[in-house]
Amino acid sequence: MAKLYVEAVPPADMNKNTEWFMYPGVWTTYILILFFSWLLVLSVLGCSPGMAWTIVNLFHFAITYHFFHWKKGTPFADDQGMYNTLTWWEQMDNGKQLTRNRKFLVVVPVVLYLIASHTTDYQHPMLFLNTLAVMVLVVAKLPNMHKVRIFGINAGN
């Protein structure tokens, strides 16, 4: 297979926690991880494809909510705690809203929701859980929610 080369220009982003997201191949890797985890769930649990997509959707919800919208700060001490009050989502692209990366990350949960609800034929209780997941994720990613802490949840250090 011919090796396709991509050019990677080092992005001028000083925050090393989010800078890795601006390299080529990130979107594809994200989508491939979701697809392969669906295959894994199907092969391990032996359930219907719709159930597998629902499980992938719910795990995706839990993991991305925890790491993008709950955990604050950065996993290294180099920046001396400059971002200690910001979640990963708020640190992305230096706080600029509606960039390409952010739009992509909003579209992914919606597409997952559509696939999961279609393959389960819109039955309850899967539909309810899927809808809950996508609503929470999309609301958390809205530009108006930048640095908003509802009822002071997650406002502590």
Partner: protein, 488 residues
């Protein structure tokens, strides 16, 4: 600008994701196991808040044996590396008394002054006996010896500026001088890949810091225009002072700075320039005078030139060379001059002798020979590596050549396999480089002979095949092409 195969980008991202996931899983189980152990902090706050030390604990410590290897000899072309072992999977390492003699491709020993030199070492020993290892005082009190003033004049003459000032440590030179030159209300525009000492100094100064895309004079102009038009944040008053900070050779890329274009942009907008020549002074340029000589830039066009003595001169410490007024101001305002111990006299003498050798003032042409040899060695090594199919960064004539590794697993694989074959290389990963662009950084020295370089190339080629980092197609040898042409 690096070109990597698309599949490599995907696998690297996936590997980091996997490492991250495993680290989180281990942390989760550790939290469960430690749930019942009493955390008796007695009311004190924990040292690490949240996830601050995650990277160090779960990623760095796993391959700790590739970094920080102790050495047992002078960092010459061949170096004695101390062997270490670990009983708990690299969490703690213990030294043994065995050493292995390895080819040294990691030390910043550009001109070969790191080992005993026939001109420098006798003079250094003499100054050690006369002036003792430490002046035991700050420069402003009793720490200025004849050697210090001689070196300041010599450095100023060497670099091409009217005056210079010395400091005991290279890192401190940047981080203590930048706050002295600019403060709140000023603007610092620094290259995105500048060294940590510059970032530290810029943060400590209190000025607003903006970053421009690495080595891109057009982006610098864009950032300048935007900032000058906008003025200070919130008040929009004009900036008090604007300084642009660039480096001569970027140590993680091996690239030269696009100095003439950047100086032209800075002159157009009446902005000060600060050039950090830590890796380029003494190593490039026809007479070793650094990147200004190589690229044909007049030293008077650069406002402040900074350099260190650790790389090409085999000593320790740093200097700033600028106009007489700036140096006089620094001498009464810079805390590193007023409160830090002055440079050690034998170290000063080492630099004086090294500069004299480079300039040819010791009565021989060893300086010119060394400069020619390092240029030859670097160009030979780089072209051979590129022919073998490695992705090597850096410009021609630069003695620093990073070989791209990308995948996190290849970092320890490359490092350990090379050590097994008696070649000591330095591998660099996050956070010194961007997350995906892990590399092995080779530093060529004038004291490497042709045989050393050929042995190094053999080992790197073999290890490269094992580890799988020959991302580019191998160039066919020249005579095979010739034969093919003849047959047509």
């Amino acid at each position: 600008m690096v070109r990597l195969p698309y599949t490599t980008a995907l696998t690297t991202l996936f590997s980091y994701g996997l490492l991250f996931a495993f680290g989180q899983l281990r942390d989760f189980f550790r939290k469960i196991v430690d749930w019942f152990k009493s955390k008796d902090l007695k009311g004190y706050a924990p040292i690490c808040l949240g996830l601050e030390d995650f990277y160090v604990r779960r990623l760095y410590l796993r391959i700790q044996d590739c970094f920080g290897r102790p050495i047992a000899s002078a960092p010459d072309a061949w170096i004695d590396v101390v062997e270490r072992y670990s009983n708990d999977n690299n969490k703690t390492l213990h030294r043994t008394t065995n050493t292995t003699k390895c080819l040294n491709l990691g030390s910043y020993n550009y001109l070969g002054f790191a080992a005993a030199d026939e001109y420098c070492t006798p003079r250094v020993i003499e100054s050690l006996k006369k002036y003792s290892p430490s002046t035991c005082s700050v420069r402003a009190d009793g720490g200025t010896t004849k050697l210090h003033t001689e070196l300041e004049e010599l450095v100023a003459r060497f670099v091409g500026k009217p005056a210079a000032i010395l400091f005991g440590m290279g890192y401190v030179t940047n981080s203590a001088i930048i706050p002295c030159l600019i403060g709140k209300g000023g603007l610092i525009i620094s290259d995105s890949l500048n060294h940590n000492s510059i970032v530290n100094g810029a943060r400590g100064s209190g000025a607003t810091v903006r970053v421009f895309q690495h080595n891109s004079p057009s982006h610098l102009e864009e950032v300048l225009r935007e900032q000058i038009a906008g003025g200070q944040p919130r008040t929009h008053r004009p900036w008090k002072k604007i300084i642009v900070i660039v480096e001569g050779i970027y140590s993680m890329e091996g690239e030269l700075c696009k100095l003439p274009e950047i100086i032209a942009v800075c002159k157009k907008y009446k902005v000060y320039t600060y050039l950090d020549e830590a890796h380029s002074i003494g190593a490039i340029g026809k007479s070793g005078r650094g990147v200004c000589e190589l690229l044909g830039v007049d030293p008077t066009d650069v406002d402040i030139m900074m350099g260190t003595f650790t790389k090409s001169f085999g000593s320790c410490g740093g200097y700033i060379a600028a106009s007489k007024e700036i140096i006089q101001y620094l001498k009464y305002a810079c805390p590193a001059h007023l409160y830090a111990t002055s440079m050690s006299p034998p170290a000063v003498q080492q630099v004086i002798s090294a500069i004299k050798v480079i300039l040819g003032e010791d009565g021989s042409n060893r300086g010119a020979q060394k400069l020619a040899r390092i240029r030859e060695n670097s160009n030979f090594f780089r072209s051979e590596l590129q022919k073998m199919g490695f992705e090597v960064l850096g410009d021609n004539d630069s003695p620093v050549m990073p070989i791209m590794l990308y995948n996190p697993a290849k970092i320890p694989a490359f490092s350990r396999e090379c050590l097994r074959q008696n070649v000591a290389v330095v591998t660099v990963a996050f956070p010194a480089t961007p997350l995906l662009l892990a590399r092995a950084r080779i530093c060529i020295s004038a004291s490497h002979s042709r045989e050393d370089l050929i042995k190094g190339l053999e080992v790197i080629s073999k290890v490269g095949d094992l580890v799988g980092i020959k991302y580019f197609p191998v160039e066919p040898p020249k005579h095979a092409e010739h034969v093919l042409k003849k047959l047509e």
